[in-house]
Assembly symmetry: C2
């Protein structure tokens, strides 16, 4: 399956590299078609990897991963163009973190909305699925790095889109995937970030995941 990754930071690099390793031709998008970090990523990943603008990447991918900083997600999606994302699965990995007031970060929006919901509003013809935002980028593509099988939360309005994302998450190594509902549930997925940051600050270890420990009857 052809994939797009919007964003050239550590998350885009990690997701893009894993997609190529799994055999999915992947185009990394950025503001410009000649972004240096994207070029370095292409060079590292061989002929299944390519780069372009946000619009080039969105047009290329059958599935599109949003991997920018949260403050830039909506702008990246505008650059990609709603027409290029129409009918496609858009996987939102981003977090609306605001570090401008120091640590711990606050969220740019939360509680009565979320970045996932704002994205779905901005892209009514796309199938937005929120997931992977609750772990660091190395754990995203290697959950066993936590020493176990943490829970990956996922939400979105389209059952079909979530089934596709679930299959990809399984390719990434995730065994415990929990669908927590429609895109409104992005609130919960994003609002866990302050606890993530506090856990990281308290332990100095970012390679962790949250596991839902639950007795039988097992979750559906």
């Amino acid at each position: 399956m052809k994939a797009a990754v919007l964003g050239t930071g550590a998350v885009g690099d990690s997701i893009g590299t894993k997609l190529v390793q799994l055999g999915h031709p992947t185009k990394m998008g950025s503001r410009t078609a000649t972004n240096e970090k994207a070029a370095a990523w292409v060079k590292k990943n061989g002929e299944s990897a390519s780069q372009g603008t946000f619009a080039d990447a969105a047009a290329f991918g059958e599935i599109v991963f949003l991997c920018t900083k949260g403050e830039g997600t909506l702008e990246a999606v505008r650059g990609a163009g709603a027409a290029n994302l129409k009918g496609k699965v858009v996987v939102d990995i981003t977090n609306p973190l605001d570090f401008s007031h120091g640590m711990p970060p606050s969220l740019l929006l939360c509680n009565t909305t979320s970045l996932g919901e704002e994205l779905q509003k901005a892209l009514p013809d796309a199938l937005v699925v929120k997931t992977l935002n609750t772990v660091n980028c190395e754990v995203m593509v290697n959950p066993r790095k936590t020493g176990g099988d943490p829970t990956m939360f996922m939400c979105g309005n389209s059952a079909e889109a979530k089934a596709k994302v679930r299959a990809l998450l399984q390719e990434f190594g995730w065994k415990d995937i929990l669908d927590v509902g429609d895109i409104k549930s992005s609130r919960g997925l994003e609002m866990v970030l302050p606890l993530w940051v506090q856990t990281y600050m308290a332990t100095g270890n970012g390679y962790f995941g949250f596991k839902v420990l639950m007795p039988p009857p097992a979750r559906p």
Copy 2:
């Protein structure tokens, strides 16, 4: 150790009962000295259990558990009286949940403050510790009900107070207790509630806990 429980709902009942079972004389406080639910709790728990007003309970306890609905926590604390809480460990279990706009609930305050912080501001001479708010009341006093050993998060400004609370949590059965910093970290502990509610709604099972899965080097 003499303990107080402010609140007569399921949380107050659960915590109060466990404290009595562990041998801690416990007074349950409410708006009135003759609350019927508190009376039923006293009757059920024998001579180590007693009831009174919020102020009676706060004066009695060497450690005070806040177990009201989040919307009533600050009022309960005003009823208890700052003088009765001076120098004492105040364990805040409450969540500022707002169900007035339907499900999932939003939070009455979050992101740039938290109920834990507001309590510490209202009680500058008390030692507020936020904990236990991330699981249901049966799991609070029996973490193995989750089928494992979930992580219990804890925060507060006083290391001495947190050591006392840690010891009590261990009496409750908690083995994996993570101190995530000062009272400002209440934000993270409270902001995880939307994900808690979504997980509950998705699975129909409330007897779960979040476990931090982390590789060595182990957390400090």
